[in-house]
Each structure stands twice: as structure tokens, then as C-alpha cells.
């Protein structure tokens, strides 16, 4: 069973619906008992980093998520704010994250002369160039396909081993990560048409 972790931050239903379409046994829950039984976890997310971390703690999920991901090593997929929460800290609210990956969350820094064209938040369809070409997460997805992004912040890391793929918006940034059982996408697979569905299918099979 896959649990979509409900920590009070947005768009769970569209992830749930996409999983249902591929006949996956999925539940939306914030109940520690349900989450503790999960075989896989998805951390979706729209919203503010600081609020999200506060809510994870308030719901009593902080320790449990650490246990499931770091000790039990079940596959976890973070989406948008979800993957940002995996990092050590964020400029958004200047708070610490879950710290599962060696990265930080920073705001887009667009040079003055590009500001009229490259607005923040970056909203729209962008390509992903895969660094790890053999990743199971992207199996069967045409590298030409675009994915849907909505974000003002992105991951930053000097540790290239976690980088699964990058995208470009004024400069190159990390748009998906993979480290052992930990996966994450800055874009929204649940909003990315057929290629997003394929990514979910790949994650479900892991």
C-alpha cells in the first residue's frame, strides 16, 4: 500500500486520482498508524516550507517518517514542496528540513537583465535532462517530454551523487533527485499528462 502523506498542504487528491487510475492501492492519510504500515510513501506538496515542517511535527510524523525512510528504507517520492522538505534547510522561512539528502532549498536568483522574461515563480512546462540515464523512475519516458513546474524555490547541492536530472530556468537547477530509496521531483507528475502517469507507474513498481 502507498500512503500519500497528508500534512495539511494542498493537492493530495490529484495525486491520489492518478494512482487510482493505474489501479494502485493508495490511501491519503495523516494517521501515524496507517503511515507506519505503508510500503511506499509519497510526500506531495504545495505551499510554504516553514508551515509544512511545522505541520509534520504537529501531526507527530517527524520521527515516523525518519523511521520509515532512513531505517526501514521504504521507497519515498517527494513532489515539489515535498522534495524540498527532504533537504537540510530552506531559505523559505529559514528553517530546517527533514535532512534526508545533502542539499538545500534556495530561491530562484534571476539576473536583473532576464527578469522581464524569466519571472518567479517559474510556472510552466520544462524539459528534464537526466544525469542518471538508467533510473527506474524515468523508465519508458521519452527524454523529449516536458513536465509541469510551479515553484519559486529549487534544490541546490554540491553533492552530485543525489542528482537524477536537471532543468534550466536562467541557469541549471536540480529538478529530480535519487538516493537509494529516496526519490523526488521538483515538477508535478500528477499534472504532467501521460509522462507523469508513466513516472507514477515506475514508482509503484519499485
Amino acid at each position: 500500500m502507498i500512503v500519500i502523506v497528508d500534512y495539511g498542504m494542498g493537492n493530495l487528491r490529484s495525486v491520489y486520482n492518478k494512482l487510482k487510475r493505474i489501479e494502485c492501492d493508495a490511501k491519503i492519510s495523516s494517521d501515524p498508524e496507517v503511515i507506519s504500515k505503508a510500503e511506499k510513501i509519497i510526500l506531495p506538496g504545495v505551499g510554504h516550507f516553514k508551515n509544512a515542517m511545522e505541520k509534520i511535527k504537529e501531526y507527530g510524523l517527524f520521527e515516523l517518517l525518519n523511521q520509515k525512510v532512513l531505517k526501514d528504507k521504504i521507497p519515498v517520492l517527494g513532489i515539489c514542496l515535498g522534495v524540498q522538505l527532504f533537504t537540510k534547510k530552506s531559505e523559505e522561512g529559514d528553517v530546517e528540513g527533514l535532512g534526508w539528502i545533502d542539499a538545500e532549498t534556495v530561491r530562484f536568483s534571476i539576473p536583473e537583465h532576464q527578469k522581464i522574461r524569466l519571472k518567479v515563480p517559474s510556472v510552466g512546462w520544462n524539459s528534464v535532462s537526466l544525469v542518471k540515464t538508467d533510473s527506474l523512475l524515468f523508465k519508458g519516458i521519452d527524454p523529449q517530454e516536458l513536465f509541469y513546474f510551479v515553484h519559486s524555490y529549487h534544490l541546490k547541492s554540491t553533492n552530485s551523487s543525489i542528482v537524477l536530472g536537471t532543468s534550466n530556468y536562467s541557469y541549471e537547477f536540480i529538478s529530480c533527485i535519487e538516493k537509494d530509496n529516496i526519490f523526488g521531483t521538483q515538477f508535478h507528475p500528477e499534472k504532467s499528462q501521460d509522462q507523469g502517469m508513466q513516472l507514477f507507474k515506475n514508482f509503484v513498481k519499485m
Binding site: S14, V46, G47, E92, K119, P121, V123, W125
Partner: protein, 254 residues
């Protein structure tokens, strides 16, 4: 190259799909859920739903409707109409919408945009700015479906919305709405130059060339249209349509 998003705007009245001319003369188009299915197949970038009567009727858009759209929709969609509380936003997002669009209440209480952005993040909050010339011929921001003048100059209001934390702006030219004679390029340009958040141009699109010009000359981050995507031909036969992937690249390539 960055391709701007091309967004069908779908107007709702009594949960039916309608299309206006200059915010009036609403023509019934069809079933919105059916439209979503067609836009899925046509692989539209994003959809916008606006309940045009909600603010006047002091309510939000019906939740079960948003859930149905969310269940059906393969792409991001935003929802607007009558939003006045944090809880309204929470409900709409949890039903599957990517973003909420706030118009009337943004002008009435700009602090609300700030609170909403704090709670949900800027990328979720879209302010929509309806513009027309007032009685004295001066450009002004309107609310309540274009019936109420706010006294705000549109560029000033755009800057205020950015300052409060809106993540995106929809600029809708009331006098161009439904005319299909082209966007208000000057207005879109002035606002794009004044803010650093994405600007979605709306009102007046009739051809792909209009869209390309608005992107190229007015710096729109996205171009929206109503009539163009629901009508076909000079007699305005109802036909839901959307450019194919290669057409989209072609439109913005020059």
C-alpha cells in the same frame, strides 16, 4: 527557448460553460466536464475556471464540481470565483486545483493576498485584474464581474498584488473580451515591465499571431483565451479546439 503557456479560460454560469463578449452577452457553450475531457485529449497546458456569478451571489464555486474537474483533468487547473477565506482556498486546493484566482476580494482586502500567500505559498495564489476605462476615460481596475470600479490604477494594483505575495497575475481587458481582435498589448506590456511575477494575458485573443505578439512584444509569461478555444469559424460554431504540440512550438518560434 521558453515557450509561454497557452491557457483556455472557461467561464462558468450555473455550472454550465458560457462565453461572454465584453463581460456581457453570455452564450451557453456546453458541459464543462466534457470540455475538460476534450482538453485532456488535446493536451492543453493548463486550464482556468472562473465562476462569473460567485462574487455577486456571495458564494464560492461548488466543491463537488471542482472535485469532478480534478478527477478528470490531466493538467494543472486554477479556480476562481467568490474566494474570501483561507478555508475557501484550502477546500479548493484539496479538491485538486493547483492554484486559486482571487479578484473581487483582492481589491477589497489586499491583506488577504498576503495571508493566503503566507499560508499556501505564493505559487498557489493568482490575482486577477480586470481592466477597462472608467466613465472619465481613465484606465481602472474593476471587480464584481466588471461592474464595480475599485479606484486602483491597474499597474499600481499589479504592483500591490506582487508586494502582498501573489504568485501570478491574470490581466483581463474587459473591452477586448470576446472580440477576438487581439490583446491589449500596451496594458500587458506596462504590467509585465512593472512586476517580476508571471503575467497571464487575457481578453481579445483571436489568432495564434495575437498570442505570439503578446509573448514577444508585451512579455506575457502565458497567454489565455476563451472564444478562440470554444468557437470555430466566422459564424462562431461551438467547437472546442487547441493547437497541437508542434503547432505550439511553431507559433512562438519567430
Amino acid at each position: 527557448m521558453i515557450r509561454p503557456r497557452v491557457i483556455p479560460i472557461l467561464l462558468l454560469k450555473n455550472l454550465g460553460l458560457v462565453k461572454s463578449v465584453r463581460f456581457k452577452n453570455y452564450n451557453y457553450i456546453g458541459d464543462p466536464i466534457n470540455a475538460v475531457k476534450i482538453f485532456n485529449d488535446l493536451r492543453a497546458d493548463e486550464l482556468v475556471f472562473l465562476d462569473i456569478m460567485a462574487s455577486k451571489e456571495k458564494r464560492t464555486i461548488q466543491l463537488s464540481f471542482i472535485e469532478r474537474v480534478g478527477d478528470e483533468c490531466n493538467m494543472p487547473f486554477s479556480v476562481g470565483g467568490g474566494i474570501r477565506t483561507i478555508n475557501d482556498i484550502k477546500t479548493i486546493l484539496s479538491a485538486g486545483a493547483e492554484k486559486v484566482i482571487i479578484n473581487s476580494y483582492a481589491a477589497e482586502n489586499p491583506e488577504f493576498i498576503k495571508n493566503a500567500a503566507m499560508e499556501f505559498g505564493s505559487s498557489t495564489i493568482v490575482a486577477s485584474i480586470d481592466v477597462k476605462n472608467n466613465f472619465f476615460g481613465k484606465e481602472a481596475t474593476y471587480t464584481m464581474g466588471g461592474t464595480k470600479s475599485t479606484g486602483y490604477n491597474p499597474v499600481d494594483f499589479a504592483k500591490l498584488m506582487e508586494e502582498k505575495g501573489a504568485g501570478e497575475l491574470i490581466i483581463n481587458s474587459i473591452e477586448k473580451d470576446g472580440t477576438m481582435e487581439g490583446y491589449d498589448l500596451d496594458l500587458v506590456k506596462r504590467i509585465s515591465e512593472a512586476v517580476t511575477i508571471p503575467v497571464i494575458a487575457c481578453g481579445g485573443a483571436g489568432t495564434y499571431e495575437h498570442m505570439a505578439n503578446c509573448f514577444k512584444d508585451s512579455f506575457a509569461s502565458a497567454v489565455a483565451a476563451g472564444s478562440m478555444f470554444v468557437y470555430h469559424g466566422p459564424r462562431k460554431a461551438v467547437l472546442i479546439n487547441y493547437p497541437a504540440k508542434n503547432e505550439l512550438l511553431q507559433i512562438f518560434s519567430n
